[in-house]
């Protein structure tokens, strides 16, 4: 009996991501959720700009490529044109929390019935490791070689905490993929975010803390340790909002 294999919702294309990049794990979790919920055939994904720009090559569902940061706006149109579609966006922190902040906040405020997968690795990956809105205080990047100085460039944006104050948001959870236990929790959160959409409950966002071994300058297994030691204290895991939690 097969206990683990590649999900059907992923194509046969080889991922272009660097060795050890956890984007691949998150792609697989999204694909597993789509397969298990039986909605792959009526799902439309919206790819962002950044490393995840090629997401449309990897999912066995229809995909749209949105302009930088505009994925939730495009997803709004796709969902409203046919509410039977299951619509998700797959965005990095440089996309969702920087140029796309307005689209993110307002799609949440409107309570759009979409699912947002937000991959936070605290750096701009594709463009070569510049400081992102989510870069940690003191973290060294190409554009903060002495570490992020909060006196001059301000503090990181905590997306789940911020959106938890928006009345229109339904479900917000922050997870990580740094070990097997957390990957399983991340899977449950992503599946719930899609389940919410199927049930018409509204805007669901799952923030996944991810690694960028190449731009962090670390070996893949060291990057997982760096995530655990540095990102988890600043970005605590957990459910930040669940509008329907009391009903259970």
């Amino acid at each position: 009996m097969v206990v683990f294999e590649k999900p059907n919702a992923l194509t046969e294309n080889t991922l272009h991501y660097c060795p050890g990049c956890t984007h691949g794990i998150i792609h697989r979790l999204v694909a597993e959720a789509l397969d298990e919920l039986g909605v792959t055939g009526r799902t439309i994904g919206v790819a962002s700009v950044g490393c995840s720009v090629f997401t449309y090559n990897y999912f066995n569902c229809d995909m749209v490529q949105a302009a930088h940061g505009r994925a939730p706006a495009v997803a709004t149109g796709v969902k409203r044109s046919d509410a039977n579609n299951i619509v998700f966006t797959y965005q990095g922190d440089g996309d969702l929390a920087a140029i796309g902040t307005a689209e993110t906040v307002h799609s949440a405020a409107r309570g759009e019935n979409i699912t947002v997968i937000f991959v936070n690795n605290a750096i701009y990956g594709m463009t070569g490791g510049q400081m992102a809105p989510t870069t940690l205080p003191g973290q060294k990047t190409q554009t903060s070689p002495y570490g992020r100085d909060v006196q001059t460039v301000g503090y990181p944006v905590k997306v789940c905490e911020m959106l938890s104050q928006v009345d229109g948001a339904t479900y917000l959870e922050r997870v990580a993929v740094n070990n097997v236990a957390n990957v399983k929790k991340a899977k449950a959160a992503i599946k719930k975010a899609f389940q919410n959409q199927i049930e018409g409950k509204g805007f669901s966002l799952v923030e996944v803390l991810s690694t960028c071994p190449t731009n962090w300058g670390l070996a893949p297994e060291k990057a997982l340790e760096w995530l655990e030691e540095n990102m988890l204290p600043y970005y605590p895991l957990g459910v930040y909002k669940d509008k329907y939690a009391e009903e259970k």
């Binding site: 683990f4 590649k6 691949g24 893949p220």
Partner: protein, 67 residues
């Protein structure tokens, strides 16, 4: 009996499966695959317990686990 299979030419040799294996039987090969990476492999198949921890941490869907 548990069986774990690696699609070696998909592997990028990142080693996340090596770190995840509770039995410490996943190792990187000395040989290169067609993409130029040292692919992960299991040499002591009989010690595998089929937990799929390696496959859970694999970013590239290299691993299939049977039990």
């Amino acid at each position: 009996m548990a069986k774990v299979t690696f699609d070696k030419d998909l592997c990028k040799g990142c080693g996340l499966c090596v770190k995840a294996c509770p039995k410490k039987i996943v190792k990187l090969s000395d040989e290169l695959n067609k993409r130029g990476y040292h692919p992960a492999q299991v040499t002591e198949q009989d010690k595998c317990i089929g937990c799929a921890f390696c496959a859970t941490m694999c970013p590239d869907c290299v691993i299939t686990v049977e039990k």
